[in-house]
Structures are given as structure tokens and as C-alpha cells.
């Protein structure tokens, strides 16, 4: 039988629409595949169909996943889709298929012997790890205006996973988290809901002047980090292992 590829946009909406279309074809799932973006090497004896993201269809899929596979699985899938992996769409699609086949779909993430489920599990885990890392490693700097500003460069698209944590932590403060790789800003006005904007709406260059106190506290913290280390136990390898260099470049104590 001919292999069919559904070419989807790299977004939650795009991939969920792809899953919707795959199911509406009512064909054997083994010969249907979801692919993200254009492939450079097209395969022989395979057909390619472009899928246009449709929020209505995507909502239906997300509702089914929530209902049949459970909220936890849904969060797992969302985290997996925040990764940069090219095969995440296919893995999520086949995981959904596997889950809907099971008697109790809520246990699908326990079925790690299935390679697609395992893939989703791994991607979700790596995204989650980065979220956990950045909850700690992110650094705010105070601007002249009193706004706290943080710049990050994460591997996965996680800024929306970080925002609720900091909104709960600093509810009375104005803060901005900027993902410089994807040009995304999380904006949190004091005592209000946070929202997401892209850099077409906000110019990153407006963030230049820091408050008078900012340098003082950066110096204090650097000194603290220096003093807290026990020189008899010095172990830079361990430090780098726990705190990879890619995070260090964004952290004041390593400047």
C-alpha cells in the first residue's frame, strides 16, 4: 500500500489538525504519517498532502486526548510538541493511536515498550528538564522603570511553561521574560494575567538602562557565590555538569 504523508505546520494547532485529518481518512494508521514542514528528500511511492491548520479541528483533537487519555498524557504531549525534534509530530500521532486502542487509554504513557510512546516520553522529559533548570537559572535584571527583565535562550519552546511559575511567585511585580531564539516575550503586568507577544510587537532594544541598584546586587551576589564555595572541595567539572555552559552565559554570576 502507498505511504501517505500529511505535511503539517510546526505548531500544536498544525499537528493536532494533522491528527484530525489522519483519522478522517479512515485508513490503516501504519501507512499514514505526520511530517512537520517540507521534506527535502521526497520518497518514491509516497504521496504528500499539505495540511492547513484549523483551530476548530485542533480543539476537537485536544478534547479527545484530554478525555480519553487523561490530562497528564495531554500535558506530556504538549511538552513533547514544545521540543525542536523533527519527528515529534509522528511520535505524538502514533501515541494517540496507541492510546485510543488501549482498554484504558490513561495508561498509555506507561507503555514505554512502544517506540512512539517512548519518544514522546523522552521529548516531554527533556522539555520538562529544561523548564526545571530555567526556573532556577533564569535571572531577572531590574530596569530603570522598575520592570524585571530576563533573557533566555532555551533549546525548547518553553517560555509559556515558565510564565505561570513566575506569575505565581512574583504576582505584584512587573516582569518580562524574553526568549531571544524565538523572539517571544512573556509580559506580566503587576496583579494581572500574563500574556505572550512576539518581537514584531515589542522592540528588544528598548531594554537598555538598568536601575541604579542593579549593579550593586549583581556584585553582592557574585561575591556571595564566590564565598560560598569550599576551596578544599573545588570541582569545576561537577559545577559544569550540574550547570551547563549554555545556561551560564545568561547568568549574572558568570559574567
Amino acid at each position: 500500500m502507498e505511504e501517505k504523508y500529511l505535511v503539517c505546520e510546526d505548531s500544536l494547532e498544525g499537528i493536532f489538525t494533522g491528527i484530525y485529518e489522519a483519522y478522517s481518512l479512515k485508513e490503516d494508521h501504519n501507512h499514514l504519517h505526520i511530517q512537520i514542514g517540507e521534506e527535502e528528500n521526497l520518497r518514491l511511492f509516497a504521496s504528500y498532502t499539505g495540511i492547513i491548520p484549523d483551530s476548530g479541528k485542533a480543539v476537537k483533537v485536544s478534547r479527545t486526548i484530554n478525555k480519553e487519555l487523561g490530562e497528564e498524557t495531554y500535558m506530556c504531549i504538549c511538552r513533547a510538541l514544545a521540543s525542536e525534534d523533527r519527528d515529534k509530530g509522528e511520535a505524538v500521532y502514533k501515541t494517540v493511536v496507541c492510546g485510543l486502542h488501549m482498554k484504558n487509554g490513561r495508561q498509555v504513557m506507561g507503555n514505554l515498550a512502544n517506540p512512539y510512546v517512548h519518544k514522546v516520553f523522552e521529548l516531554s522529559r527533556s522539555t520538562n528538564n529544561e523548564v526545571l533548570h530555567l526556573k532556577g537559572f533564569l535571572r531577572f535584571q531590574e530596569l530603570e522603570s522598575g520592570i524585571l527583565f530576563a533573557k533566555i535562550g532555551p533549546k525548547n519552546n518553553i517560555v509559556t511553561f515558565l510564565a505561570p511559575h513566575f506569575a505565581d511567585r512574583l504576582p505584584l511585580l512587573n516582569f518580562i521574560i524574553y526568549d531571544e531564539i524565538r523572539g517571544l516575550f512573556v509580559v506580566h503586568p503587576a496583579s494581572k494575567q500574563w500574556y505572550l507577544v512576539t518581537n514584531t510587537d515589542l522592540d528588544p532594544n528598548i531594554i537598555q538602562n538598568y536601575s541604579e541598584e542593579e549593579t550593586k546586587y549583581q556584585e553582592l551576589f557574585k561575591y556571595f557565590c564566590h564565598k560560598i564555595a569550599i576551596k578544599e572541595r573545588k570541582n569545576l567539572k561537577l559545577q559544569r555538569n550540574m550547570l551547563p555552559l549554555r545556561f551560564q552565559e545568561y547568568m549574572v554570576e558568570f559574567w
Binding site: M102, Q107, G110, N111, L112, A113, H118, E122, R125, S126, N128, N129, L132, H133, K135, G136, F137, L138, R139, F140, Q141, E142, L148, A150, F166, D168, R169, L170, P171, L172, L173, S191, E213, Y217, E219, L220, F221, Y223, F224, C225, H226, K227, I228, A229, I230, K231, E232, R233, K234, N235, L236, K237, L238, Q239, N241, M242, L243, M251, V252, E253
Partner: protein, 450 residues
């Protein structure tokens, strides 16, 4: 109230330097803590898994602003840098200075909260009162809802300790030395019963608070993240068996959340203290943390790991592998059928991978490839398990043979100074080839620091 001398001419930078330097040997972490969401009216929340904010040059995590309130002290403990007889610059913070530092560091996301310890200024009550005032200001005036770990000063008025307990997330009293004899030799002004009294008080406080919370949902929380303590390793001649027995007792009888082990660093060159030409006993500290994990999460007893005849841990093998080799009659274990508790005792299988095995085998038999995916370290586990009745290779179940093979897979230690074989060791044995350990796993594993 007595006045204490605040050195007006000293800058906050100098004070921070001195009082951080003096606090660095204390171990504390925010993990195994509590989840508490912010109420929207202040600043801060806490996460049960703990959050590491940075790592210092020794590879230990920085999650709290760890400082002494003062390094003045009336005691003369031989191992302590701040002992009375040492000639060091003395200084104290004011409660307001501690609050300002905590708030400014916290909002920049440098720290997860405050760890406040202290030398004894004038007397225990006076010191505890200052600590209480600081906590009160932080919680009430600054509306700080982040994590606070505070030391209960032995000998202080129980009422003061009680009041501080209602403001802190975790309290700790350091036992420091495992036996009364060691304590009287190195800390002549401290008495074991003075240390155990506040520990018992906090334990009872936590218990009765739990009952209150059942009755009144909004009752104030008392030391909600539990209490911890610290043992110094290698300053006195106690063996590992004594240390583990003390730790086990603390967990069982005092219901401690954590016991921390701190490799002794000789700062005072006192004649009563051992010279440590090889540096602090890091390997021993590491073995103790491994065994501590076995007590808390793997259902082991101290008496199973060590005994009077064999009072110290094996240098070459981790305590779990060492135990398994002495109990080969229990192996091999069939992975597809064994109890969770039995799975936990197999070298190469950790808490996470054992849980995953139990879930995954509901969907069919697991083979060796599947185990690898689940995070089992087959290089270590293969001598102890069967899948569907078959062992992975044709191996002998014989102590010498397995020991030799386990030793050829070099153990990964966090402090291997040559760095060539360096890799983070996870106590959950979860560093498989296809699956990375969770951040929290790795963090918890290293020196039990976090």
C-alpha cells in the same frame, strides 16, 4: 533588651563576605520540602522538588541565601572556624539587612529563600530572639512567602523556638558528632541532651500541628517542610555503622526529613582533630549518602548494610551492589514477576526504573531491550535478573566473578578529580543510554546536597 554592637563602619558587602564564609560548611537544600503557591498578595512560593539556582565552584548547589546572622560565638567547638578562641573578624547583620538582601536576591531569582544560622551572641535566648525578629519582619512586613530554613539554637527558650517554627519552612538542629563522647571531646560547651531537646520539641510541634490542620484548615503551619540535621564525617573515629545507626534512629525516632553528612574540612589545625592529607573524606561522605538513600527510599535497614564485624562501607563498591553480592542466594530475580520491593534491591535498578517496570509490564512481557529503554543500567543489572526465565548472557552467579565484572565497569563518582571518567552519579541508577535522569534526580544524587 541587650544591645549588640553592629559594626557601623563595615559595608554590607564585607559583612556578606564574612558571614557567608562562616556559613558555607552547613548543608541545606530545598528539596523534600513543601509545595506552597503564592496568595497573590506578597512575593514568593515554594516547590516540593526544590529548585537549584546556581552551582558554586565546588559543584554544590546554591539554592538559599546561606548566611550566619552573626559569627560572634561564646562556644569553643574545636572544629568550628568561629570558635571563641579563634582570632577572626567578627560581625553581625541587623534583621533589616537580612530582609533587604533576601528580598532583592529573591526577586531577581538568584535564590529560593533564606537559610539563617548563627553563632551564639551573648546567650542562646538573645540569639534566637534576633533570628525570630528577622523572620517576623520577612514574613509580616515584606510578605515573603518563599522558603525559610532556620537553625534552632540549642538551649534557647522553647517558646522562642516555637514562635520561629511558625514562620519557618524547615528547622534544624545540628547533631554534628554522632556520639556523646565525640561531642564532649570536640565541643566541650555543647551537650547531647541540649541538642536532642529542641529536636524533640520540633518533632512534637509538627505532630500536634498536623492534628490542628485536620481540624482547622487554616491553622498556621509549623515547620511544614520538616526538620533536618547534619553529621560531620571524619572528625572523630566513629565508623560508618555507628553513623548509619544514628541516622536510622533519627529518621525513625525523631521523624527527621533529612540527615545531611558533611565531610570534615580541617580549618583550625587543632591537636584534637585528625590531619587529612588527602583532603576531606569525600568518598566516605558519598557512600553515606548512597546508604542514606537506601534507608529512605529502598526499604533497607542499617543492619542489613553494615554490622559490628563489617563496620565500614566498601571503598570499591556502592552499598547496594555490596549488599547484593553478599546475598546471591536471592538472585537472579525474574523482572516480569518480582515485587516492587524486590526490584528495588537489584543493582542497576532505581526507584524510577522500578516504578516504570511495574507499569510497563502490564502491557506485556518485558525483554532486555525494553528494560534498557526504561532506564535500567543493564551493565550492572544483568548478573541479577532474568527476563522470561532467561539471563541476558550465560553468566555465573558467583561472588568473585560478578565482583570482578562489576568493578570493570568503572563507578561514576561526582568528585573524580582527573575528570577523564567523570560522569554524574545518580542514586536512582537512572543514567541509562537512551534516557537522561531528571534534573531533580541528578541534583538529589550529588552529595545529597540539594
Amino acid at each position: 533588651m541587650m544591645h549588640y554592637k553592629v559594626m557601623e563602619d563595615m559595608s554590607i558587602m564585607e559583612k556578606l563576605g564574612i558571614l557567608t564564609d562562616a556559613a558555607k560548611y552547613d548543608v541545606a537544600c530545598t528539596s523534600s520540602g513543601v509545595d506552597r503557591r503564592g496568595d497573590g498578595k506578597g512575593i514568593g512560593n515554594t516547590a516540593a522538588g526544590g529548585i537549584c539556582h546556581s552551582f558554586s565552584a565546588d559543584g554544590r548547589c546554591i539554592s538559599l541565601l546561606k548566611i550566619l546572622f552573626t559569627n560572634e560565638c561564646i562556644y569553643d567547638c574545636k572544629y568550628c572556624i568561629n570558635r571563641r578562641s579563634n582570632d577572626v573578624v567578627r560581625t553581625s547583620f541587623t534583621p533589616d539587612e537580612v530582609c533587604e538582601l533576601t528580598m532583592s536576591f529573591y526577586k531577581r531569582n538568584y535564590i529560593e529563600g533564606l537559610f539563617l544560622s548563627s553563632g551564639i551572641l551573648y546567650n542562646p535566648d538573645f540569639t534566637m530572639e534576633l533570628i525570630y525578629q528577622t523572620l517576623y519582619k520577612l514574613r509580616r512586613e515584606h510578605r515573603f512567602q518563599g522558603y525559610i530554613h532556620v537553625k534552632a539554637i540549642p538551649g534557647a527558650d522553647p517558646l522562642l523556638i516555637q514562635k520561629a517554627g511558625f514562620l519557618a519552612d524547615r528547622m534544624s538542629v545540628n547533631l554534628e558528632l554522632p556520639t556523646a563522647e565525640g561531642l564532649s571531646r570536640l565541643a566541650p560547651n555543647k551537650h547531647r541532651k541540649n541538642i536532642l531537646a529542641p529536636m524533640r520539641q520540633i518533632q512534637n510541634g509538627i505532630k500536634s500541628n498536623k492534628n490542628e490542620i485536620v481540624l482547622y484548615k487554616n491553622a498556621p503551619r509549623f515547620v511544614s517542610a520538616g526538620q533536618s540535621t547534619q553529621l560531620i564525617v571524619g572528625a572523630t573515629p566513629e565508623n560508618d555503622y555507628q553513623l548509619m545507626t544514628v541516622a536510622e534512629n533519627l529518621y525513625e525516632k525523631f521523624e527527621l526529613k533529612r540527615v545531611f553528612y558533611s565531610a570534615f574540612v580541617n580549618v583550625n589545625e587543632d591537636k584534637e582533630l585528625p590531619a587529612l592529607p588527602g583532603g576531606p573524606p569525600l568518598l566516605r561522605e558519598h557512600r553515606l549518602y548512597q546508604a542514606d538513600w537506601l534507608l529512605r527510599f529502598y526499604g533497607f535497614k542499617a543492619g542489613e548494610l553494615l554490622s559490628e564485624e563489617k563496620p565500614n562501607f566498601n571503598i570499591l563498591l556502592d552499598p547496594k551492589a555490596d549488599w547484593a553480592l553478599r546475598h546471591l542466594e536471592l538472585f537472579p530475580v525474574e523482572v516480569n514477576r518480582a515485587d516492587y520491593q524486590v526490584l528495588l534491591r537489584i543493582p542497576g535498578i532505581g526507584v524510577k526504573s522500578a516504578q516504570r517496570i511495574v507499569t510497563a509490564r502490564r502491557n506485556g512481557f518485558l525483554g532486555f531491550d525494553d528494560l534498557k529503554k526504561l532506564g535500567v543500567v543493564l551493565k550492572r543489572a544483568l548478573y541479577f535478573i532474568t527476563c522470561n526465565g532467561k539471563m541476558m548472557y550465560n553468566t555465573k552467579i558467583e561472588e568473585d566473578y560478578i565482583t570482578r565484572n562489576l568493578l570493570s565497569v568503572k563507578e561514576k563518582l561526582p568528585f573524580d578529580k582527573d575528570g577523564i571518567t567523570y560522569k554524574q552519579l545518580s542514586l536512582f541508577d537512572d543514567m541509562s543510554f537512551s534516557m537522561q535522569p531528571d534534573v531533580t534526580d541528578t541534583h538529589k544524587a550529588v552529595l545529597g546536597q540539594l
